[in-house]
């Protein structure tokens, strides 16, 4: 079980790192997917090893995948709009919302 947890921890922090350092919005979106999937692995692993008679963890995972798909669609739509307005998807240039 600890292998699963090590993997998911690695994926989670890679996701965080990517989210915080990449300037490209698409890469940031991908990092978010990594974080989500790290969580999924955790859910499945805990379900499998701690409560084998229950199925909640699996269902949660499925729901998260569905939500992630929808979220990705929304995020891409937003990114396209940002591109149209700024001619760029560099996140540092999208700072109109400051004070």
């Amino acid at each position: 079980m600890q292998y699963f947890l090590v993997i998911s921890t690695l994926m989670f922090f890679i996701g965080i790192y990517g989210f915080l350092t990449r300037k490209n919005l698409i890469t940031m979106l991908m990092s978010i997917e990594l974080i989500l999937n790290a969580v999924n692995i955790n859910f499945v692993a805990f379900n499998k090893y701690l409560f084998p008679q229950n199925l909640q963890g699996h269902f949660f995972t499925l729901i998260i995948i569905a939500i992630a798909a929808a979220e990705a669609a929304v995020a891409i739509a937003i990114i396209i709009n940002i591109y149209r307005n700024f001619r760029s998807i560099d996140v540092d240039r999208v700072d109109e919302m400051k004070f």
Binding site: I16, L20, K23, V91, V94, D95, E96, M97, K98, F99
Partner: protein, 640 residues
Amino acid sequence: MVDYTYTMLIPLIPLVFFVLIGISGHKMKPIISGLIGTAGLGIAAFLSYMTAIRYFFTDHLAESGYKSLKAFEITWLHLTDKLTINLGILLDPISVMMLVVITTVSLMVHIYSLGYMKGERGFHRFFAFLSLFSFSMLGLVLATNIFQMYIFWELVGVSSFLLIGFYYEKPSAVAASKKAFIVTRFADLGFLIGILILSFNTGTFDFQLLTSPTGPAITMPGGAAFMGMSVLTWSLIFIFMGGAGKSAMFPLHIWLPDAMEGPTPVSALIHAATMVVAGVYLVARLFPVYALAAPDALTVVAWVGGISSLFAAIIACTQTDIKRVLAYSTMSQIGYMMLALGVSGYGGHDGLGFMASNFHLFTHAMFKALLFLGAGAVIHAVHSNDMKDMGGLRKYLPITHITFLIACITIAGIPPFSGFFSKDEIMVAAWHHNKILFSIEFLVAGLTAFYMFRLYYSIFWGKQTHYHHTPHEAPYLMTIPLMILALGSIFAGFLPFHALVTSDGMPFEAHIDWSIAIPSVLVGVVGITIATLMYFKVNTIPDKVANGFSYFYKWAYHKFYMDEVYMFVTKKIIFRYISEPVAWFDRHVVDATMVGLATTTEKTSHLIKGMQSGRIQQYGYVFVTGAIALVLIFVYLWGF
């Protein structure tokens, strides 16, 4: 029970006409709006006469004494089950009498104004306000409870304010209207406090309950005492303060002379015949409570009345503006009425003062309205208020001259004119009560005759003034009301008031007490004689007399410096020691707190606005760092 429901039309008709003229008056020809207003008042007057005749004579109410009737009443504000504020119509001898007085004088003034105000700007506005005033005044006298009375009391105050400030382009008129409003408002504060104390202790606003001899106000056990007088006495003194403000009693009289800035018909209607006697009416309305439960308050009323009448009579002897002379004379005569109420007892022959007061109110309304309207006709002819600009007008204004003379004789108390009868009753009542008050009134009777004839001679005799254009007699619209009022002044004295308007509704016998009547007539004659000697022909006696009493004359000429005293009190004491500290507190503590809050917020936001950089990743860093820090805290410090 006789049906008097129609009496509610009496105040409502002027209200309807006020709204009508006020809203659409500017579209009509001026004369039409004037005629409409006059017609409305005519109807109201007709209904009032009908009510008076029915109430006093044809409906046989007199057999067990005149009772007060509620012709109509609705609940207006439902405060608690016991305490409601109603609107209604109360008929009793004094309210019916006031109906006649108000509608008569108001009708005369309306007719007169058709001539006097002709061609003025704001003709329809004038008539709209006159209707508003009539409505308020009628509502005031017909009020069934003290709260309704207070509402209409304020309404009369407003209409008086509007009419004094009718010539709103003149700064002096604006100042006068403000002064009148503020002074009477200040007095009304006392009235309101009095109402609150009274109704709190008796649990009712209703006049019938309050004044019934077995009602809660009169049978109330003294109540808590404050400074040696019962709560009830204090409340009645406060209520009297309201009445004194409206009736221009010393020391709240300062607004009345200035109120003469309004058009003359207004002075006749509001500041001579009707509104200023509202204070007398108020005391008369609550008279049983005063007389039976709080004789101390009644003593206050008597002395305030006596002092005011003397004070005003002395000032009136020195003024040269004819309207101001009449204003002070009004104040003096109202002082008489207050005094008569103050010296009266309750019931039967003891109630002589009450009857005399109302009698004098009635006759005074006639002759004082006549005097003012006559003065209006004179001003109309010579375009000046000052008697120095007048003299020898009797040839030019014959009708005004005769009617003015009648009014002067009436106010001087010469029989058989009406003033003699009512004044005599007051003298008798005062004689039986208090000799000092009687001697004040005796002196004032002489002074009254003197200053009225001084006025009369200065206008119609005296020097031959040369006028730029020959003065002409006023049009018939103006002289007819004069003649009607002159007839009223002559004959009103023969009304059997002692059988109609009495303190407990029961008629009693009153005779002329010749041992008092003859001296008071004589003092009047003496006053007239002195005035004749001094002013009939131009001579130097007035100047000599003025020099002889130079200091006193100067004092009286400047109205005993009452205005200056008020200015001193307000400017030097109230403004400096109360208003300025309060203003300082407001500016430096209250405002400063608020301003401080605002500036602190602004400065803080300047400091922290850099955090809103708009860079998502920066937010992300902060968020993640915070989350990790929280996890560490939870795990290692709190040991989850």
